[in-house]
Symmetry: C2
Subunit: 544 residues, 2 copies
C-alpha cells in the first residue's frame, strides 16, 4: 500500500514525542522532589536542532539506489538528510543523548520503503548481491541499539522501513488466528482486530509506536503477559525475507517435526531475515476490565504474594509489584497522593515498606472477571486495598513512561531502564545485586541515584525485574556515566538471571550473550546466520 511520505515525520525525533521535545513538562513539585532526593540542579538540556548533528553524505552506490528504486519506486528510496536522520537508531537513553549531541549517530545511507513482502524479498536480495547492509526498522523503539544503522564490514547500509507493510492479511475466527504484515503498529493491529471483536492483547510500554514485526524480532512481552502470554507465545507462524529466499515457519499449533524453528525466528532481531508477516493467536476482546491497587509490606513479601498468584494460576491479566523505591517515585511523580498522609495510613495498618501492587482482571462477562478477581484475592490476605482509583492511575499512565523520560531528560536527568528475569528462589538476590551495582556506580558526592524496580511478568518458575534509574546527568560525560552503570548492572546479572527479559540483545547486550548461551550457543547462532545470510548483510553488528 501507499503511505504519504510525510506520514513518517514522527520518526524524526529526539524523544518519544513527535516534536522531539517532551509534550508534557515535568511538574514543579516533581522537579523540587527530584532536586532534594537526587541532588539535581534543574537546567534546560533540550534536543539539539537536527541541523547541528553530523551526518555524512550517503555512500549508497548510485547503481544500487537505481535498482532499489526500480523495485519500490524511486520515491520510496530516501536519501535526504532528514529522512536518514529520522531512522538513525532507536530510543535508548544513549540514542537520545546522541540526538542531544553526545556521541555519534549511526545514520543510514538511505531509507527504503518496500510496499509488501515480495518487494522486501527483492530488496534483500539486491542488498545481498551488492554487499549493502540492511537494518529492518519497524517502530524504531528499540532501547538496546537493535535498529542502529551500523555498517559492520559493509561500505553502506540502508534502513528497511516496513511502515508500508501495514495490512491485516487474513483472519481465521474459528482458529483464532490473524496474519499481519510486519509493519502494522500495535494500536492499528488492535483497531483492525476490534472490527472482528478480537484482540491480540499485547501491550508493552512501546505499544503506541512498536510494530508486530518488531515484537516478533525481539521476543517482546507486554504488560498483560500474565493474561495473554509473551509475544512468542502468540506467534503461530513467521514469514521472513532472507538473502537465500523466502522462509516461512509454522504450520500447526504444535509439532514434533524437529526443533521449533518459530522460536528461532522469534528473537532473531533481523539477523536471520527480515520478518515480513506474522501469524498470531488472537482472542475475543474483553468486555469487562477492572484494575485495583493494593499495598503490601516490603518487596520480599510482595514477591511471595506474586509467586503464590503465579503458581496457583491466579494472576490477574496484569499483575505488577513495585518495590518500595518505585512505589515512592511513582506516587510522588504522579502527584496524586500526599505521601506523608499515605505513609501514616499504611503504617497504622502495619505496612513499614509500602510496595504498590496493581492487578487488572478482564473477562467476557462481569461474572468471569469477578471470578478471576476472587481467585486472586485469596492470596492477598494482609494487603491494604487502595481500590480501583489506584489501579486506574496506573492504567491511564501505562504507556507514559517514554514521555516522562523525555521530560526528565529535558531537566538534566539521566534516566534509563533495564530488565532481567530469573527463578523465584534467586529473585531477591538478583534485585539486590543489580540495585547495589547501579547505586554504587552512579553515586558521587553530589549525585544520589534512585533505583526503582518492579515485577511485571510472572511465571510459575520465576519473574522479571524491571529497573528504572534516575540520577542527575553527568554533563561532562553523560555517555560514560550510563555506560559504566549499565556495565555494572549487567555484570551483576550474569550468573543470576538473563541479560534481558524483553528488551532483546541488539548492540547493548551482545557482549553478555556468550555468558548466557555459552560459546557454543553463539556459534550456533552464527552458523544459522551464515546459512541464511552468507554475505552478512542482515542487521550488521546486532545479536552475534
Amino acid at each position: 500500500m501507499n503511505v504519504p511520505v510525510d506520514h513518517l515525520d514522527h520518526r524524526i525525533r529526539g524523544g518519544w514525542t513527535s516534536s522531539g521535545a517532551a509534550d508534557a513538562e515535568l511538574p514543579a513539585h516533581a522537579s523540587r522532589w527530584l532536586s532534594a532526593r537526587t541532588g539535581l540542579t534543574p537546567r534546560r538540556t533540550p534536543v539539539a536542532p537536527d541541523s547541528g548533528l553530523a551526518v555524512a553524505e550517503s555512500e549508497l552506490p548510485a547503481q544500487v539506489r537505481a535498482v532499489l528504486g526500480s523495485i519500490v519506486g524511486p520515491e520510496h528510496v530516501l536519501v535526504e538528510r532528514a529522512d536518514r536522520l529520522g531512522r538513525a537508531g532507536g530510543l535508548s537513553y544513549l540514542d537520545l543523548l546522541r540526538r542531544r549531541g553526545s556521541g555519534e549517530l549511526p545514520v543510514p545511507d538511505a531509507v527504503v520503503l518496500p510496499a509488501d513482502p515480495a518487494q522486501v524479498q527483492r530488496v534483500v536480495e539486491v542488498c545481498a548481491e551488492h554487499g549493502v547492509g540492511i537494518v529492518p526498522f519497524g517502530g524504531g523503539t528499540s532501547v538496546v541499539g537493535g535498529v542502529a544503522a551500523l555498517r559492520g564490514d559493509k561500505s553502506s547500509v540502508v534502513v528497511l522501513d516496513l511502515c508500508r507493510l501495514d495490512e491485516l492479511v487474513s483472519v481465521d475466527p474459528v482458529s483464532r488466528l490473524a496474519v499481519f504484515q510486519a509493519g502494522v503498529v500495535a494500536p492499528e493491529a488492535e483497531r483492525l482486530l476490534a472490527a472482528h471483536g478480537l484482540t491480540l492483547g499485547h501491550f508493552p510500554q512501546s505499544y503506541e509506536r512498536a510494530t508486530l514485526g518488531g515484537f516478533a524480532a525481539t521476543r517482546s512481552s507486554g504488560q498483560a503477559s500474565a493474561g495473554y502470554g509473551r509475544f512468542e507465545d502468540m506467534v503461530e507462524g513467521v514469514r521472513l525475507a532472507t538473502p537465500r529466499g523466502e522462509w516461512s515457519v509454522g504450520v500447526a499449533p504444535a509439532s514434533a517435526a524437529g526443533p521449533d524453528l518459530r522460536q528461532l525466528a522469534v528473537g532473531s532481531e533481523g539477523a536471520f531475515g527480515v520478518i515480513t508477516e506474522v501469524t498470531v493467536r488472537v482472542r475475543p476482546a474483553p468486555v469487562w476490565q477492572r484494575y485495583e491497587g493494593f499495598v503490601v509490606d516490603g518487596f520480599a513479601g510482595g514477591a511471595e504474594v506474586v509467586r503464590a498468584l503465579a503458581q496457583a494460576s491466579a494472576l490477574g491479566t496484569v499483575t505488577r509489584l513495585s518495590d518500595p523505591q518505585e512505589t515512592e517515585v511513582g506516587l510522588t511523580l504522579a502527584g496524586s497522593w500526599k505521601m506523608a498522609a499515605l505513609r501514616g495510613y499504611l503504617k497504622a495498618r502495619g505496612i513499614a515498606e509500602p510496595c504498590l501492587l496493581v492487578i487488572g482482571w478482564e473477562g467476557q462477562t462481569k461474572h468471569e472477571m469477578l471470578l478471576r478477581r476472587r481467585s486472586s484475592l485469596r492470596f492477598l490476605g494482609k494487603a491494604v486495598r487502595l481500590g480501583t482509583a489506584a489501579g486506574e492511575v496506573w492504567r491511564h499512565g501505562r504507556f507514559s513512561g517514554p514521555r516522562q523520560r523525555d521530560a526528565l531528560m529535558d531537566v538534566g536527568m539521566c534516566v534509563e531502564t533495564l530488565e532481567t528475569a530469573t527463578y523465584w528462589s534467586r529473585l531477591g538476590e538478583l534485585r539486590t545485586a543489580v540495585r547495589d551495582a547501579l547505586v554504587a556506580s552512579l553515586t558521587t558526592g553530589e549525585r544520589r541515584p534512585i533505583v526503582a524496580c518492579h515485577i511485571s511478568h510472572s511465571y510459575e518458575t520465576g519473574a522479571s525485574l524491571y529497573f528504572t534509574t534516575l540520577v542527575p546527568r553527568d554533563l561532562e560525560d553523560p555517555v560514560g556515566q550510563w555506560r559504566d552503570a549499565k556495565a555494572a548492572a549487567s555484570e551483576a546479572i550474569v550468573g543470576l538471571g538473563t541479560i534481558t527479559h524483553h528488551h532483546a540483545t541488539g548492540v547493548d547486550h551482545a557482549a553478555y550473550l556468550p555468558g548466557e548461551i555459552g560459546p557454543l550457543g553463539v556459534d550456533v547462532l552464527r552458523a544459522v546466520r551464515r546459512e541464511l545470510d552468507p554475505d552478512g548483510v542482515l542487521n550488521p553488528g546486532k545479536l552475534v
Copy 2:
C-alpha cells in the same frame, strides 16, 4: 550410579512387554469381532526367536572399545549379540515386524553405558575422534525410527544407553524446578518427585518406559497436556554433550536474549548432542482426580465442543474425543459394553454417531477440581453423560495401547498409529483426508481396514489428530503394506498439518520435513548440526 546389567533385559524384546510376547492375549470376543469387521483370519504370528535374527559381528575397532571401556568401565561396553539386539531400534510397527523376521534389523556394534554426564561427554568426544556413530537411547520407545542404529557414512555405530543416568539431581521447591538426569524413566521421575509432593504431569502412552531425555529430544506430549502442557512447555533448561563440548541452555523462565535455544535443543532428536540433563517445571501433585465419559454426536460436533473448551480455557487436565470409529473399536475391544444396547440408549437420546469424550479434572482440593469440572460442563450441553465408570475405563487402560498392539500383532493384524495436528478450521478436512488415504491404501478384496481417530491435545488455535489403523496383515509383504499406507497418509497431511504432533521425525518422517519447514529450514538444521557435530557422528540418518 551402577545398574546391574541384567536390569536391562527388558530392552531385549519383540514388543512392549518384557518377554517379547504379549502379556495379555486378545479376548475371544475381540478376535471374533475383528474377523467379521476386517476380514481377519486369526493365526499365531509370534515373535521370532532372537537366535533366528541376522546379526553381523561388531565392527567397533578394538582400540575404540578399549578407550570407551577406560571411560565407562569395560563391563559397561557391551558387544554381546543379545545386548546389541536389545537396542536394535525402537517400537514402531515396522520395528516389531523386523523383530518378527521381516526386514533388516539395525543392530549397533556396541552398547555403551556411561554413568553420568561427564562420561557421556567423554564418550561423545572419543566417538567423534574415531568417526563412530552414536545413537542416544533412553527407553527405546521411538515409533519413528528415532533410535535405529543406522551407520550413515560411518563404519560403526554405538548405542549410548543412558539408563545409568537415573538421578534426580536437585529440586527447587520455591521455583518449582527439578533437574533430572536424562535416563530417568517417567514413573521413576514421578516417584522421586512424589517424595517432595510434586509431579511433572507428563503421561504419554510410552510413560511406563520412556525417559525424560527422550521426552525432550522428541518434543513429547502427554495425555494430560491440556493441564500440564507439552514437554517443551515444561523444559526450563537442557544440558547436552556435543562433540565440541558441553552446552547448557536456559537461565530464566523467559528471555529475550536472542532466539530461544532451548526450543532448538528440544526436538533435536540426538542430532545436535546427547541430552544428559533436563531442568523441568514441576507442580504440586494433585490430590483430587475425577474422570468422566460423555457421548457427543458426530466428530464435527464433538470437535466443536473441544474447541469451545480449549478457547474458553475450560479443558480438563485430560480431554480426549474419539471419532465414531474409535468409539466403536474402543468400546468393543474393551468388552465392557454391549454395543447394541448402548446404541439404542444413545439413539433414544438423539445420538446418531456416538463419539466418546473423556474428560479428567484434577485439583489440590475437591473444590478446585469441581470448579474446573463445572467450567467444562458449561460447554457440554447436549452430551450424554456416561459418568465416572466410562472415565475410569479409559484411565485404567491409558497406557495399555502398546500391549494391545502386541496382542493384535500376535493374531496377524497390521496395527499402527500416526498423528498430526492442525488449526481448527482445517481439522475436519485433515481427518477426512488422512482417513481416506489410509482406507484406500489398505483396502483389498479380503481386507477391510479400520481407521480410528481421536483428538487428545487441544490448543486455542487447533488440535492434534491421532489415528489408529487396524487391518489384517499382508503376510506376503507386511512391510510394504504399511509403508504404502503410511506414505499415503503422510502425503495427505502435507499442506494441511504437521507431519508429526508428538512422535518426532526420526527416520520415518525425515522425507516430509522439507515440505513442512522449507528447504531453508532443513539447511538451518543442517548448519546447526554441522556446527555442533562437524564429524557427523550424532544419531546418523535422523532428523536431517
